[in-house]
């Protein structure tokens, strides 16, 4: 299954009732088993775009569609920046939420729940409430919840931006390991360039005012182990290339506060 984003644009009315173009002329697709990262300065509309793809916002123009569904209803899994676990549900109950809603049997819920809780390394915490977990563990539960529905498209909206730097690095590594096992088509939003180069098959660089695609960069490095010494210079090159594309916009964003 492939996901096509075709001519998508989004305009808002600001507080003074003026029309603001958040996104314009967005065209790209996510191939099966492809990891696409959206990167851009703050205010470039990358979260807006992710929300549109996730069906949480309607585009002002254009369409988003799945191709090659063969009559099957495509499933989405979203990992939110705010994590958005249900505080009144335990880790296990959160992870199986999507299965519960799709009418899976109790046995299937248990099997898949256990499988994905193990995969994110939360065994032993099934009965804990989100409040009792650290930020990193909460986001692991959030990832497990999204994986448990075995989605046709996994959406991740700056999932690690609320975590401290050390936890973040570890979680990126874990995410790659998990992704390598599941091979889900993924759309990942971040403002962190290193993270983009570390995770992506393709990086889509957005610019702001209006938000549009500046460049699409394919990362030709092996998927696992990009942080190894031998790839360092190439890694830096990619990161620098993206930074040069974003730099001007980021400076402008800074001035506007």
């Amino acid at each position: 299954m492939r996901i096509v984003i075709e001519d998508v644009g989004k305009t808002f009315l600001d507080s003074k009732k003026r029309e603001v173009t958040a996104l314009t002329n967005i065209n790209f697709s996510i191939e099966e088993q492809e990891f696409v990262v959206l990167v851009g300065p703050s205010g470039c509309g990358k979260s807006t775009l992710l929300n549109i793809v996730g069906g949480l916002m309607s585009p002002s123009s254009g369409t988003v569609y799945f191709e090659g569904t063969q009559g099957k209803k495509p499933k989405l899994g979203i990992v939110f920046q705010e994590i958005a676990l249900f505080p009144w549900r335990t880790v296990y109950e959160n992870v199986i939420y999507g299965l519960e809603e799709s009418g899976a049997s109790k046995q299937e819920q248990q099997e898949k729940g256990k499988h994905y809780i193990d995969m994110v390394g939360l065994q032993g915490f099934e009965g804990a409430y989100p409040k009792q977990l650290s930020g990193g563990m909460r986001q692991r539960a959030g990832i497990a919840r999204a994986l448990a529905v075995e989605p046709d498209l996994l959406l991740m909206d700056e999932p690690f931006s609320a975590l401290d730097a050390q936890t973040r690095t570890l979680m990126q590594e874990e995410l790659l390991t998990i992704w390598d096992r599941t091979r889900l088509s993924t759309l990942y939003v971040t403002h962190n360039i290193q993270e983009a180069v570390y995770l992506a098959d393709r990086v889509i660089v957005l610019s702001r005012h209006p938000g549009q695609i500046k460049e699409i960069i394919r990362i030709d490095l092996p998927k696992i182990g990009r942080d190894k010494e031998e790839y360092r210079s190439q890694f830096e090159q990619y990161a620098d290339q993206i930074w040069q594309l974003i730099k001007h916009d980021a400076q402008e964003a800074l001035k506007e506060g």
Partner: protein, 263 residues
């Protein structure tokens, strides 16, 4: 060097001071003992303030001859039925107002315009509607409970983080399940705040309604013995109202802990 040493101690230790559990009982026991002494020394005549021991003796007598039980049951039936009806309707309508934009726009102004009316002022009208049986008392309590519960439920729904609703919808929830699995539990802490507020209101309305229009019940009992100037028995009624309020609050607290274990 040693004379120059200055050990740093925790200067905010008073914030963490531990108080033993018996401290709570100490205050009440002290007050009762003081009260008893004042009465025994005849500083205040027993008509104005009967001694705790006299109140307890009277309470025992009234328990044995069945008078107290009869009045207590009548009151508990009224407050139980009225509170249950008011709370259930309040929660249900509060959820609907919070969830549906149409219901919100049309009905919320009505709720807010009726809310400030002291409900006891409606009792004569309600008696006119329902006659003089149990109905008007139950109805006035239900009405008094309904408003704080509906308004708290409504604000509780509004405080539910929209990201949780988005998450639920993303993982396949329909509208009914969004209300049942996200909005209801999310609003539950606020709903309980409303229920506790309503507990006080319901007790107030119970006693007022019974004083105005009832043959039985703790409220009419208190008024009856007040008119006869039998203050000991009047105080028995007051004592049981206080116990009723206390038990009511404790039950709600217990229920809250049971239903909101994630807090």
């Amino acid at each position: 060097m040693n004379e120059q040493r200055q050990v740093i101690t925790n200067r905010v230790a008073f914030l963490e001071q531990k108080i033993p559990g018996y401290a709570a009982a100490l205050g009440i026991a002290g007050l009762v003992v003081l009260w008893e002494i004042v009465c025994r020394m005849n500083i205040v005549p027993p008509l104005f303030l009967p001694a705790p021991s006299a109140i307890l003796t009277a309470a025992w007598d009234m328990l044995v001859n069945g008078e107290l039980i009869e009045n207590l049951l009548a009151s508990m039936y009224r407050i139980g039925a009225g509170y249950a009806i008011g709370a259930i309707c309040g929660i249900a309508i509060g959820l609907i107002l919070g969830f549906s934009r149409w219901a919100d726009a049309i009905l919320t102004p009505i709720v807010y315009s009726i809310y400030p009316i002291p409900k006891i002022a409606l009792l004569p009208l309600i008696i006119l509607w329902f006659g003089i049986g149990e109905m008007p008392k139950v109805a006035i309590i239900a009405l008094g409970v309904f408003f704080p519960v509906v308004i708290n439920t409504y604000s509780g729904v509004k405080t539910v983080d929209p990201i949780l609703i988005k998450a639920a919808v993303t993982f396949g929830s329909n509208h009914l399940n969004v209300i049942r699995k996200v909005i209801l539990p999310g609003a539950l802490p606020m709903i309980f705040a409303g229920l506790k507020l309503a507990a006080g209101t319901s007790l107030l309305l119970l006693v007022s309604a019974e004083m105005i229009a009832a043959q039985q019940g703790i409220g009419s009992m208190v008024l009856h013995y007040g008119n006869l100037m039998i203050t000991t028995k009047l105080m028995v009624g007051v004592l049981f109202l206080s116990l009723l309020g206390l038990i009511f609050n404790r039950t709600l607290q217990w229920l809250e802990r049971k239903l909101i274990p994630w807090k």
